[in-house]
Symmetry: D2
Subunit: 214 residues, 4 copies
C-alpha cells in the first residue's frame, strides 16, 4: 500500500506549521505501507493542483492531508469537507475568497473515505487526545480535503482520502492569549503514525460512539 | 411573509431548552412577517415528520429551526447540514443512531438558504455575540436542518430554510463544570428577532468576512 | 445596616464597566439594609483615597467593592487580597506599577470579612452561575479590596468588607476573540442583590465545599 | 548550591502526577546546582512534615515544590500562598479540611522568595508556554507552598522557596471533557530545568510586566 501524506507550509504569521514539522518526522514505512510525503503551499487552488499532479505521478492508495488547527487540544480526523471557500484571512499569496464554491460542478460535500473513528480510537490507544471533528473550517484545510475527494470522485479513482487537523506545538503558543493548548511535535508524530496504522488495518470504519451534540 | 420557527423540547437531562424558552417569547409579527411557532420533540425522524406536516399545513415562506448548543457563548446561524445521524447520547425516545444517513437518496449536505451572514451581522448590531458556524453537529439539530432542507429540495418547494444554535441560559450553567458560558433568555429572544428581521430584509446574503480557519 | 457599594469606571478600552452599570441599577434598600453607591476611578491610590474618604463620611457597616473580570463566566466573590500592585496595563491615569507593595506597613494579605460562601450560595439560589475566587488579580480590583481591608484593619473599624468580580456584559464581547463569556446586566444586578442579601443575613460564613484544587 | 525539589504523588483518580513524572527525569545538576528530589504524599500536614524533615536533613539553599494544575496549558510559577486549607476533594488519606488555617500563628500569606518572573521568562525562552499565577488554589499545592515558607520564616532559615504548577500530560487528558490542554512530560522537564536555572542565576527577580487584570 502506498500512502501520500501532505502537509501545508506555515501561514497566518506563524514561523512553523506543526503539520509539516510532524509529517517530516514520520516513518517512511508504517504497518507495511510506503509513506510518500509532500509539502504543499497554503494557497487556494495551487495546493489542489499540486496534490492532483502528485496523485497522477505517485498513484497512491490513500491520500491523507494534514493541517494545523490552532486552538484545538486534540488531534482531530475530519468527517466531511464542504463545497465552499470562505477565508477569514489571506492565504500565502494574498487570495481571500468569500463564499465561493470550490468546484462549480462538485457535490455540496464529500465525506472522508478513511476509517475516521478507527483513527480516533488508534490515537487514543497511544494515549494521545483525539476526537472526530465535523468541520474542517472554510480555509485551505477544508479546501484541500474537498479538492482531493472531488478529484478522486470525478475521475472514479480507487483511492481513499481524508484529512487530519493537529494542534499548535508549544513554541507557537508562547505569548498567545489564553487558552492556547498545544501538543509536542513528537506526540503529533505518534498520533499521525497511529492514525496511518488504522488506515492500513481498517478498510471499513468501526462502529463507535463519536458524534457531537452540536 | 410567513415564517415557521421551530424549537426542540428539553433533552440530555436539562429541564429547559433555551431555544424553546426564547421562541415562545418572540413577537408574533417581525418586520411585517407573521411568525408561526412550533415545539418539536428531540427525537430522530419524528421531529422531521412534524416539521414536514406543519410545512404542508402552514405553507410558510421561511422555516427557521432553533436549537441549543451548550458550551457556545455566541448565537450561531448554521451554514450547512450534513447527511449523517451520529448520536453521542440517546434522544428523548431512546434512539441513538450511529453513522446512519438521514436520507438514503439525499445530497451529502445542504447549505442553508437563509442569509446567514446578514443574520450574524444583525445579531451583532443589537450588541449580542454571534458568528457563523460550519457544523450543526450530528445529533437532532443537524438532523432537523438537513431533513427540512431535503424535504424542500426534493419537493421543489419555494421555501427558504436554515438553523440557529443558541447558548445555554444562566440557570442551566449553575454547577456545570467550567467553562459554561450562557446568554439570558431575553438576549436570546433579541438575537432571534434580529436574525428574523435580517431574513425578511435579505433575500440574498451579504458579502462579508466570516469564515473560520479551522 | 448601611452598605457602601463601589464600582469602577470603564477601563482598558471598554466603553462600559459592567460592575458600574449593574451597581447603578441595584435597589436602594436590600433586606432592610440601606445601599449607598459610589463610582470610583480605575486609578491606583486615588480609588482607595475616595473609598476611605467616603467611609469616613458615610460610616457604613459593610463595604462591598465590585469590579469587572473579563473572561470569567461566573459572578465570583473574592476570598483574599494580596499586598502587591502589578499592572499588566496602564490604569486610567497612565500608572503602571510593577511588583510594588500596596501598603509598606500592610499585612501580606487580607481575607474578605464577608460571608463569601454564603454569597456564592445565594447567587446560585437565584439560578445564576457563581463560585468563590482565590485571586482578585494584581490590578486595581485587588488594589481596592486590599486598600479597603487595610484601612479598616489599621484603624480598627467595625466594618466588614470584600470584593465581587462580575463577567463582561454581552455588548462587550461582540467581536472579541473566543471564548468571551458574558452575563446580562439584569442578571448581574440580580446576582449582586442576592449577594448583598446574604451579607445582611450572615454575619458568619456558612461551612460549604468551595475550594479549588489549583 | 543545593536545591530540594518536591513533587506530589498521583491524586484525584489520576494514575500519574505529571509533576512527579517530570521531576524524576530532571538532571541531577543544573547550572552547577545539586538537585535533591523528594516525592511527597498528597496528604495535608503529612506532606509538610516530610518537607520540613527533609529540609532539616538536606540543608538546601532552595526549596521548589512542584504540583499538577489540571486545566492549565502553561507552566505557572506561583506568586503567593495563602493561609487556608479548603479542599474541594479528599486528599489521599481522606482528609477534606474546609476553611481551616494552615498555621494558626502564621501570616495571612507568604510571597514566593524565588525570582518568579525570571522563571517565567526562562521557560518562555526555551519556547514553552508560561505565565505567573496569583493563586495556587486551596488544596495541597497551596498548603505545601505555605507550609514550606512558614517553616522557613518562623525559623529564620536562609532558604529561598516557592512553587510551580504544571499542566496535565497527554495521557491524562484522553477522554477528559474539553477543554483539556496538556504538555508532554519531556517539555515539562525542560520547563522545570529552565526555571531552576533562573533560580540559580537570579537572586533578585527581574522587573517585567506579568500581572493579571483579574
Amino acid at each position: 500500500m502506498k500512502i501520500l501524506i501532505t502537509a501545508f507550509d506555515p501561514f497566518g504569521g506563524d514561523k512553523v506549521n506543526p503539520a509539516l514539522e510532524a509529517v517530516k518526522l514520520m516513518k517512511d514505512t508504517i504497518a507495511g505501507a510506503q509513506i510518500v510525503k509532500l509539502e504543499i503551499p497554503t494557497v487556494f487552488n495551487k495546493s489542489i493542483d499540486l496534490v492532483v499532479k502528485t496523485i497522477d505521478e505517485v498513484h497512491p492508495d490513500v491520500v491523507l492531508n494534514v493541517g494545523q488547527a490552532g486552538g484545538r487540544f486534540e488531534v482531530t480526523p475530519e468527517r466531511v469537507a464542504i463545497n465552499v471557500d470562505d477565508a477569514r484571512i489571506k492565504d500565502n499569496e494574498g487570495n481571500q475568497p468569500i463564499d465561493q464554491p470550490i468546484a462549480k460542478d462538485g457535490a455540496p460535500a464529500y465525506f472522508a473515505t478513511l476509517p475516521v473513528k478507527a483513527m480516533v480510537q488508534a490515537i487514543k490507544e497511544v494515549e494521545l487526545p483525539s476526537s472526530l471533528s465535523n468541520s474542517a473550517g472554510t480555509f485551505v484545510c477544508n479546501h484541500i480535503m474537498y479538492g482531493t475527494l472531488h478529484h478522486i470522485a470525478k475521475n472514479h479513482l480507487n483511492i481513499r482520502a481524508g484529512f487530519i487537523h493537529v494542534p499548535f506545538i508549544p513554541e507557537q503558543v508562547v505569548g498567545r492569549p489564553a487558552p492556547a493548548p498545544s501538543l509536542s511535535t513528537a506526540d503529533i508524530v505518534r498520533a499521525l503514525e497511529a492514525a496511518v496504522q488504522a488506515i492500513v488495518e481498517h478498510t471499513e470504519d468501526i462502529v463507535a460512539v463519536g458524534g457531537k451534540t452540536e
